[in-house]
Symmetry: C2
DNA sequence: CTGAAAGCGCTTACAG
DNA sequence: CTGAAAGCGCTTACAG
């Protein structure tokens, strides 16, 4: 039985070449012919076989987005769902498909990525959860596959990345705490080798010193993600001989646990401990006292990431001439009561 | 320049056929030859081009998992991340790749899916967020592509699905409420055309009637997802002339908002309103009074879904002889204080 | 504007 | 156990 494009061609009495050209919107096709082809394709639900098309074109028309399922080292779950939508907005304009590649908890991210790139399964890549030393970046560069990293790394150089502006967040938060009179300001640091753990330490040290405050290593609190992390943080903070009076939470989903632990300890956010949190996250919106926190538009971030990817892809460079993009994505502060700032007017 | 498998073959002085056979683990290859091929492939980072391989084999070795980004009609974000991991656990054993296909907010799910299946981009599909009438099911059946739905639908028949056991949850919760003496028991219903909105109504009516209670349509509360949904629910419940004394929340991320609104209204969960929630979700773990809720292992659900998919794929049927799987996935109750049940001993 | 034909990089009967 | 060759279903110079 004849199938695929040959079937269409036979049915229409034209060659497969003509069908292909019509379907691909080539200019040198008779208008009437094109109409007939398009009509027949839609009637028969025909679309070119993806494998054959990719093989012939030397491109898959797809962009991979690698996320890690290991919630111990990655952003909150809903972070990426928001970003995907923004990415799609841009890719969709160019008939590029977004395929999300979730690296299982049990697999090495490098090996996982390598399979996809070695197989030429995607035309470009978006990677996330960049580690301090992240061999994926060199792999991608060496194979010269277009990519952008959500996050920085010490590996590689001259590649495109968009990262959250941790430095800006830390500076803004500590400046604010200091203006409120705080001298002992703590910060959370993730346990993993994720790159921003290092950014947090560096930026914290720099900002504390700039204010002429004493740098107390005890105030860099290594804390797990999640509510349990926040809860344990509450225990740790108030167990210190000299507890901080303010804390900046640098990643998601900790606030609820911290609030809970403080209630148990009869401590009140904004009075006994000033708190600034990171990102709107489930559960944070209705906490009381209301949470002062940084925020960003995930959708806009996704758009920027997609544009940065296109700028790396030869076929799209003309329309996206940004070249290498290296950008810290700014966050906005929403003032609540948890940092005691509202009380200051 | 010679590339791909031809390069390997030339380098080793064997034919591409032999390289292919060695790489694919065919039995009829000399041991020494196989070793040389494998060693060279790993040294050169060679892996067969995915498109060429798929075209030759007539299979992509990948399973698509369609999720919807529209958070207004889907499960909580972290739901799927957990499921992916379980799915990968199973697919990974068979060298099948999981590719997640996120349908953008702006696109029609049917059209989105159709492109992938018409192009033969995947060997099998997992779909989610099934609607009451869901043409995707007929599309998949008609094209006879192996699939499993996470969720049921009135569309199609004789297809594999695994759905959360909403009926079981409703029965268990209402039985429990009734045993505690409640007579006015409310339930939340999502606004969308998602199939389980209908299941909830049916199951609620049946269970209420079975207990000989009065069926009050006002107690089926159409409620949006999310914290705002929960908050608004709190307003709606206590605005009724005759408020319910118990409520069953049937989807995620509402509890925090409801608690907040109740605090504002000086109402206490477990005393002024008995609450049973659906699923562990961010923010729920540290609420006080603690939340009585239903739960499930997302990972195990993912494993079951993957096995059901394999049972539909001709190449795996022998190892997964389950055939059509139609299964309601049970949830377990974690008792807290929010339903007042703890007080009963 | 259209068709015949080569070629994309693999896999797999078929022969030996 | 191995190789030559056909074929998977497209796209795209090339010729007309």
């Amino acid at each position: 039985m004849i199938k695929g494009i040959a079937r269409l061609a036979t049915e229409l009495g034209v060659s497969t070449a003509t069908v292909s050209r019509a379907l691909n919107g080539k200019s040198d096709v008779n208008g009437a012919t094109r109409t007939r082809v398009l009509e027949a394709a839609s009637r028969l639900g025909y679309a070119a076989n993806a494998s054959a098309r990719s093989l012939a074109k030397g491109a898959t028309n797809s962009v991979g987005f690698m996320v890690e399922l290991n919630s111990g080292t990655t952003r909150s779950d809903n972070f990426f769902m928001g970003v995907f939508d923004g990415v799609q907005d841009v890719l969709g304009r160019h008939d590029l498909e977004l395929v999300v590649l979730p690296c299982p908890t049990s697999k090495d991210p490098y090996a996982y990525l390598q399979r996809f790139v070695a197989r030429n399964a995607v035309d470009a890549m978006i990677i996330s959860a960049t580690q301090r030393v992240d061999p994926r970046i060199e792999l991608l560069q060496q194979r010269s596959i277009p990519f952008v990293a959500i996050g920085r790394s010490t590996s590689g150089t001259g590649y495109s990345w968009i990262d959250l502006d941790f430095e800006g967040v830390i500076k803004a938060a500590i400046d604010r705490f200091v203006a409120q009179g705080h001298r002992r300001i703590a910060i959370t640091v993730p346990l993993s080798q994720i790159n921003f753990a290092y950014l947090i330490r560096d930026s914290y040290r720099r900002t504390i010193r700039r204010h002429g405050l004493k740098l107390d290593p005890d105030l860099m609190l290594v804390t797990a993600w999640g509510e349990e992390g926040g809860y344990d943080l509450g225990s740790a903070v108030f167990a210190l001989k000299e507890p901080p009076t303010a804390v900046l939470l640098m990643y998601e989903t900790m606030t609820v646990g911290l609030y809970r632990r403080m209630r148990e300890l009869k401590k009140r956010p904004g009075r006994d401990l000033a708190i600034i949190a990171f990102r709107d996250e489930p559960g944070i919106g209705y906490l009381s006292p209301s949470v002062t926190r940084f925020n960003l538009s995930l959708h806009e971030l996704g758009v920027a990431v997609a544009e940065a990817v296109l700028a790396q892809m030869p076929a799209y460079r003309e329309h996206y001439p940004e070249g290498i993009v290296q950008r810290r994505w700014p966050l906005q502060l929403t003032v609540g009561e948890s940092d005691g700032g509202a009380a200051l007017g």
